[in-house]
């Protein structure tokens, strides 16, 4: 850009606004995490101070680990998220390949049918989903959650992946066909490895909503042994509402895994959002 007009004033103002908003965005997280390491008295006397050697205390974390089964919740959340993501990716990629690669009667209609779910939230159907899960005995199992999240994630996955698969070169696939590869091998050996970046984008988009969802765990799987971390911390906090140390520690422990995921995947996530909208 034009460097001759570089002025200091607007730049400083821009940084000022960005720093202010960054502080607003991070302040609550900062307050929760720092206070979770303080003794009860320090939490109230000096809520904004950092924990010092005399106010440092882990009593909240001790309560959380003693009273709540957070490792179990974490494990449940992990299973639900990982299995749902795997199913969304593999089923979504297969359907996207069928729609992008072959011409068959009803192709456009099928694409439209699968795209319906992008705009219509699955929560509207909760009453019937619960009824179905009760009648099939899946209520209070992780399977119920996995099925729901897979169905919820598929429409967008098919949409994004089929746009990507249309870009895979036809020559490559035809070369494979001439060499006698079956359509399945063409999909798994040639096409899948090429759309890996798009798969990563889909995974990152779906990961956070699944991990954070409260509605379906609350309705489909509220039993103790299948609680997810989000529901588990919600219930725990509800019970310990007057024990501020425990509440703050539980919140910090719930923040931690998401933050780790975010730090690991933030580049992929941001690239996904940016490239998706450019198109």
């Amino acid at each position: 850009m034009n460097t001759a007009r570089r002025t200091l004033g607007p730049t400083i103002a821009a940084h000022g606004v960005m720093i202010l908003y960054t502080l607003i965005a991070l302040f609550p997280v900062f307050v929760i995490v720092t206070n979770s390491f303080k003794s009860r008295r320090a939490i109230f006397r000096d809520p904004l101070g950092l924990p010092t050697s005399e106010t440092f205390s882990l009593v909240g974390y001790e309560t959380v680990l003693k009273q709540g089964d957070f490792f179990l919740y974490f494990q449940n959340s992990m299973i639900v998220t990982v299995v749902s993501l795997a199913l969304i990716l593999i089923f979504g990629a297969m359907a996207a390949f069928a729609l992008a690669e072959y011409r068959f009667p009803g192709n456009a209609l099928m694409g439209l049918y699968l795209a319906l779910g992008i705009m219509i939230p699955i929560r509207i159907g909760t009453v019937a989903i619960l009824e179905m899960m009760v009648s099939t005995g899946l209520v209070n199992t992780l399977t119920a959650l996995i099925l729901v999240y897979t169905a919820q994630g598929l429409p967008l996955a098919v949409f994004i992946l089929s746009a990507f698969m249309k870009g895979v070169s036809d020559d490559l696939k035809n070369a494979g066909r001439i060499d006698g590869l079956s359509e399945y091998k063409i999909f798994f050996r040639l096409v899948l490895p090429l759309v890996r970046p798009a798969m990563a984008t889909v995974a990152v988009f779906n990961m956070i909503p699944i991990w954070n969802d409260l509605w379906f765990p609350l309705i489909l799987a509220p039993a103790e042994e299948v609680k997810t971390l989000t529901l588990g911390s919600q219930v725990f906090i509800g019970q310990f509402v007057t024990d501020w140390n425990a509440v703050l520690s539980a919140l910090s422990m719930a923040i931690l895994p998401v933050m780790v995921l975010y730090v690991v995947f933030s580049r992929q996530l941001i690239r996904g959002i940016t490239s998706g909208a450019v198109k």
């Binding site: 991070l26 699968l114 699955i122 929560r123 019937a128 933030s266 909208a277």
Partner: protein
């Protein structure tokens, strides 16, 4: 998928489509229509009986139900209005600043401002509840420090402020999404257009208003419809911060919490799946109207701006 008889049936297409179509149909589409169907039934003496549109008549006509429904719908509309009026302008402003090529550390700002968006409603709801709580005193203490203590009120506990406060908390959480989408749209504007404007003397703020803003209108349209669907389907934040009763005195009740209470029951009221389905159907109708207005009314007109 009936195949023309000339060619052999291509089984692999069916195999590729089957799992996705099956799961999607069985767990999403079928329950959706089943919910719409259930709203036409009611339970009388342990039996499911067809009642036609009676449930809707109760929902809109019966004083007890309709009052709750209109209250929830009104609150939900206010929730949406605040999002549109606060979240989107802030998101656009942040994106405009971020996309300026001379801004250093923009990757850092982008990452940091997006952090609230990845947190769950449970964390966000409780964190703000604690911060705004008069017991802890972070909010009054900070207002005191800048001499504005008289402004403080227990916002989440007062009927007249609670809903607005929660809407703003939700805005705080979700501002990252419009910011990112607008940022992407701004980056995709070709430099030649901006340079052409510069030759005609359009720079700085007027370049934003006259060139960039019209070009990002399609993204603003998408963001508006995404916000609409998300808001009229919201539940988690209100439930985490105020509980299923959406206190104080139902002043933060929105359609999601209303449906949850009706369908699942709370305290003295028994859960009623049929009335729950009726509310779900009403929500479906509202979302459908919103999406249709966008698809047929707004998107079509915006298309002409795209490159």
């Amino acid at each position: 998928m009936a195949q023309p008889s000339k060619k052999p049936f291509r089984w692999h297409i069916a195999v590729f489509l089957a799992p996705a179509v099956f799961v999607y149909t069985a767990v999403m589409i079928y329950p959706l229509f089943n919910t719409l169907r259930l709203s036409l039934y009611s339970r009388v003496d342990q039996e499911r009986v067809w009642v036609g549109l009676d449930n809707f008549r109760t929902l809109f006509g019966d004083a007890i139900w309709s009052e709750q429904f209109w209250n929830a719908l009104g609150n939900n509309t206010w929730f949406f209005v605040i999002h549109m009026a606060v979240q989107n302008p802030i998101g656009i402003a942040l994106a405009a600043l971020l996309s300026s090529p001379r801004l250093r550390f923009s990757a850092f700002y982008r990452t940091a401002i997006f952090i609230p968006t990845i947190l769950s409603f449970v964390i966000v709801g409780f964190a703000w509840k604690l911060i705004l709580s008069p017991i802890w005193g972070i909010a009054p203490g900070m207002l005191d420090a800048i001499g504005l203590k008289f402004l403080y009120a227990p916002w989440l506990g007062k009927e007249e402020y609670a809903l607005t406060t929660l809407s703003l908390v939700s805005v705080w959480q979700y501002v990252g999404i419009p910011m990112m989408l607008i940022y992407a749209a701004l980056l995709s504007i070709p430099d030649e257009i901006l340079e052409a404007g510069e030759c005609d003397g359009i720079t700085g703020m007027s370049a934003f208003w006259k060139i960039k803003l019209p070009l990002i209108l399609p993204s603003i349209g998408i963001i508006s419809v995404l916000t609409f669907v998300a808001n009229f389907n919201a539940f988690d934040l209100i439930y985490a911060a105020q509980g299923a009763l959406a206190g104080p005195d139902f002043s933060t009740d929105i359609l999601g919490t209303f449906m949850y209470r009706t369908f699942f029951g709370f305290q003295l009221q028994l859960g009623d799946p049929h009335m729950g389905s009726t509310i779900a159907s009403a929500m479906f109708g509202i979302i459908l109207i919103g999406v249709c207005i966008y698809l047929f009314g707004i998107q079509r007109r915006l298309r002409s701006y795209q490159f």
